[in-house]
Point group: C2
């Protein structure tokens, strides 16, 4: 059998928000590469897919540091890419799982850069976190001729400001650790009533904040926190039925 | 049993790119509202979900015109919203299917505006077309601190131009009927080598064009055609294995 790598988007967090195609592929893997979890437990990506795996799959957890020296990061990606290449060359069906969608703000691309053209590979898309947040909060994103920007709050503030000025809808990822600055920016543009924040969408601890002006600047937000802005829609809870 | 409406994103086209949650919900519906197909056949959304439906579900196809007078459109949305409300009030589990994701450039929002706060409802996210295209073409979208814009080619040209100038990645939807103008715009910004066009992603007739400068201005593109631009990535086919 010819080996192949499948890069699989796991969706935002709940196991049943993975695609049917991903679920079926996971059941046929020989080897699964997964980001290593913290404190000995499963990573979120691994916990999402665990129910679809068979007993015979070999799980290879690998630690991808977030904020070390560039050289160290490069060297880790090189090493994992080489391991994957060897497994595929040995004829194995190999999976690599990545949160959300596989091609949108995904670190999987660091492996892709090293493996494309060298081994057979296929990418399986997933539900992005911001689509999940919009659904869970029943808060629509762009429609018709409107435009949408997706930005990371780690970007320079003038870029965030430009996106807020020019687009109808703005997805602001990685709010963690930057809430007070982002809140001040939204307030300056009179967009607080049009913004909501969701943490850990589709997970048991999902939290949705619809009144951002009421949240203190020193709030301790979970790591997976995103703000959605829609200039044509109010974030306030609709009347209940 | 209490009635409820489920607005379900079907994903981009292939039946197995629907979420596991959507597949399970579809099997439990009493009534399914679907856009009417052309020429008597199923609509694409209905063809995607048909394999997950049970025999007892009542399928109510409704025609949503794309380009008639505003008044006529409004009246059709009013009528369908009222039908759905009656089914939910009668205690039924009601589905409404919409291509791609349910909250991103989705006409479902016209029904949501009419039904929110009046009936119990839940939205199930789906894989967006542009995430699917990025995966199928193995062409990544934004990473890390990069920013991405999602625009419709029906928007005024200055808006498209601004998006091309200011973002690292740009998703250009609804290219159909506007290819020559969009191609000229990309050429003016020297972005043709960084752009690819995909039609009918994940469907049997999927087509991917990686050399946009080679496509004639008068090409007959399928209706579902989208251009992805990534300033840090070349669209040319990678070396094969």
């Amino acid at each position: 059998m010819t080996g192949k790598l499948f890069a699989i988007g796991t969706g935002p967090g709940s196991s049943d928000l993975i695609t049917v195609r991903a679920a079926r592929l996971l059941a046929n893997l020989d080897v699964l590469y997964a980001p290593a979890g913290r404190r000995g437990g499963d990573s979120l990506a691994l916990s999402i897919v665990r129910e679809y795996l068979t007993d015979h799959v070999v799980i290879k957890e690998r630690h991808f540091p977030m904020s070390t020296h560039e050289d160290e990061k490069e060297s880790i990606w090189d090493t994992v890419a080489e391991e994957i290449r060897q497994d595929v060359d040995a004829g194995k069906q190999v999976g690599f799982i990545t949160l959300g969608d596989a091609m949108l703000f995904s670190t999987w691309v660091f492996l892709l850069e090293r493996l494309q053209g060298r081994i057979p590979l296929e990418v399986i898309p997933g539900v992005t976190s911001f689509a999940c947040i919009a659904s869970r909060a029943v808060f629509p994103l762009a429609m018709e001729q409107q435009t949408m920007a997706v930005v990371s709050c780690t970007a320079p503030e003038p870029e965030l400001e430009q996106a807020l000025q020019q687009h109808d809808c703005i997805v602001m990822m990685k709010v963690y650790g930057r809430f007070s600055q982002v809140k001040a920016l939204l307030a300056r543009h009179h967009l607080l009533p049009n913004a909501l924040l969701m943490s850990e969408a589709s997970l048991p601890n999902e939290q949705c904040f619809r009144q951002l002006h009421e949240i203190g600047d020193d709030v301790a937000l979970p790591y997976f926190s995103t703000i959605l802005v829609n200039k044509q829609w109010l974030a306030a809870e609709p009347q209940t039925v």
